[in-house]
Each structure stands twice: as structure tokens, then as C-alpha cells.
Symmetry: C2
Subunit: 152 residues, 2 copies
DNA sequence: ATAAACCTGAGAGTTAGCTCTAAGTCAAGA
DNA sequence: TCTTGACTTAGAGCTAACTCTCAGGTTTAT
């Protein structure tokens, strides 16, 4: 069962333009061609695209993804490199999640800040608010922010 | 206490070039100027930069950040808009975290895959591996991936 | 007073990752 | 056979977010 680039594009939900761009960048060395030069995608190519998508989601640049694809094409001699790469990428994503969770805390604080301001009709309410009227979790974020500020 | 752009750049760890770029994009309407036109940053401007940084980390484009800064400059009449914006941004970040956690699962699977291949000396080991030799958590990811694949 | 270091805005250049156009080739249905 | 739509490559264009260069003005320390 073979697919043209247009059919495969629908399957993986990536435009044919983008698939050709990936091919040009060397991300799809596994794709077969017909005699007349037309790309023939297979079902198993779907798995390759899943790996590519996964690495893209980690923020890895296309050049580095190409390096990794080339390692796979090279065979078992590159297993160590591939393992190292995934370990590093795993750590990178763990850091990204931690970073986003910090950002989320600040956003939660800001939501509370504007909920309170909305109820009072003015942001000025935050000049007179008492510490004990601030919810526990919000107060912690507020104090963390102050600390960062005073570091500089 | 006023800072020149160079001094402030060090404080917030952003290059003077980038700060001028932000100013040009309208992100720093609160920065005062000396008679001769030189920017005079204040301690409290640090907080503005913290908000800008926070929104940038959520992936918000500079134009949208400018809209938000303009709302703050407009005063209390824009509190509702600002609250809505933060609520949406909070949801967006929660989705990003969920997405990264899925990606992390796949990376963990790949780490296990290559650890196993490394021990065996070949990726071919995965053609003959028994289900019961796959750790519980890894097996779950593997099955989830299969399901996604068969959807198409 | 003068050199060094820093400031200014305008605008050019860079990078990544698409996204599209053009000119031509190929394949399937009426 | 002919039309229509999808395929091909090369290469141009686009957007975001910087990043840097330039020519000129300002500040500060000797």
C-alpha cells in the first residue's frame, strides 16, 4: 500500500509543501520513489513522522533531527549516540516543563490579582490589601516574586 | 535611582540591543527619558520586565504583549480585558504542559528502547522481545502509540 | 579639553521554519 | 486523446524575534 505525497499529507496532517521541505532538509531519506520520480510513502513511514514530530515538539532544530535520522539509517553502530540523544532530550523537556510550571504559578497569581481588582473596580485595592486576605498559595508566589526582585 | 540602558540590561540579563528593540515595538512606554533623550530605567521597571518575560515564556507574540502593556497604561477601565487575557494564557500554558508530558512519555519509551538495544548490541532485539519483558509503564506508552498509528 | 565609553535612531542582516510560485511532468477518468 | 488535477524541483517570499552596523550625540574621567 503506497501513498502519494498528498494522501500521506492528509494522513499525518502536515501539508505537502512542508513534507517536501522536510525532504529537502534530509528528514525523509527513507521515502521510496516511483520510476518517474514520484514519492511513494508507506504505512510504516507514519512511525518515522511520529518520531520527527516528537523531536520537533521538544524544540529540537531540524538540522539535529536530520543528524538523528541519519544515525538510524546508519544502523546498529549508532545505538549509543541515539540513546545519549534521547537522554539529553528527555532532560531538556523535563526542564521545559519545570519552567512552564513556574510561569503557570505567575499566571495564577495574576489571575487572582485581576479577579480581586475586578471585584474592587480598581487595581488600587492591592495597595491596601492585608496579607491575611491573600490565599495561601497566592501569597507564596507573591513572596517568591519579591525575592527574585530583590536579588538584583 | 536611575539606570542607563546598559546598566539595566545587566540587571535584567537582556542585551541593550534587545531592550531597544522592545522599546521600538512599544513594549516599554513607561521608561522615562533625560532631557537629552537618554532612557532612564527605574527599579520598578524591573517588574514590568518580569511580566514581559513571563508572557514571552508562554509563547505570546510581542504584538499581543504590547496590547496588554497598552491596557495597563490605560488604567482600571481595562481590568476585565487583562483578566481574560491571563485566564486564556493560563489555559494555554496548561495545554503546553500536558503536551510536553505526552512528549516526555514517548522520550522515556525511546530511552528504554535504546537501553535495551544497547545491551543486546542490536535494535533487532525488539522484533523478538516478549510483552512480559517490557516494564509496565513502558508497555502502556507502547500501546498508546500503536493506537494512534491505527487511527489513520 | 579630550579621549574613551556609552548613548541615540534608522535601518540592514540573520536564522528558523515554513509557505508559496512557476514551469514543467505525470496519471487517471470521460 | 484530452482534460484535469496532482506530482516534480528550484527558488523566491514571509514572519518573528532578534542582532548588528552606522553615523552621530552625550557623559565621564583624567
Amino acid at each position: 500500500m503506497y501513498y502519494t505525497i498528498g494522501e500521506f499529507a492528509k494522513k499525518v496532517n502536515i501539508s505537502p509543501h512542508t513534507l517536501r521541505f522536510y525532504a529537502k532538509e534530509g528528514l525523509l531519506p527513507f521515502v521510496e520513489r516511483s520510476e518517474s520520480g514520484i514519492r511513494m510513502f508507506k504505512d510504516e513511514d507514519f512511525e518515522w513522522l511520529m518520531i520527527i514530530e516528537c523531536l520537533k515538539k521538544t524544540g529540537m532544530p531540524i538540522k539535529d533531527i536530520k543528524t538523528f535520522i541519519d544515525w538510524i539509517m546508519e544502523g546498529d553502530s549508532t545505538i549509543d549516540k541515539r540513546l545519549d540523544m534521547f537522554k539529553k532530550q528527555k532532560e531538556a523537556v523535563e526542564k521545559q516543563i519545570a519552567q512552564l510550571q513556574e510561569t503557570l504559578e505567575l499566571l495564577k497569581y495574576k489571575c487572582w490579582y485581576y479577579e480581586t481588582a475586578k471585584n474592587a473596580g480598581t487595581c488600587a485595592v492591592h495597595n491596601t490589601i492585608k496579607l491575611e486576605d491573600i490565599p495561601e498559595d497566592i501569597r507564596l508566589v507573591k513572596e517568591r516574586l519579591k525575592k527574585i526582585h530583590s536579588l538584583y
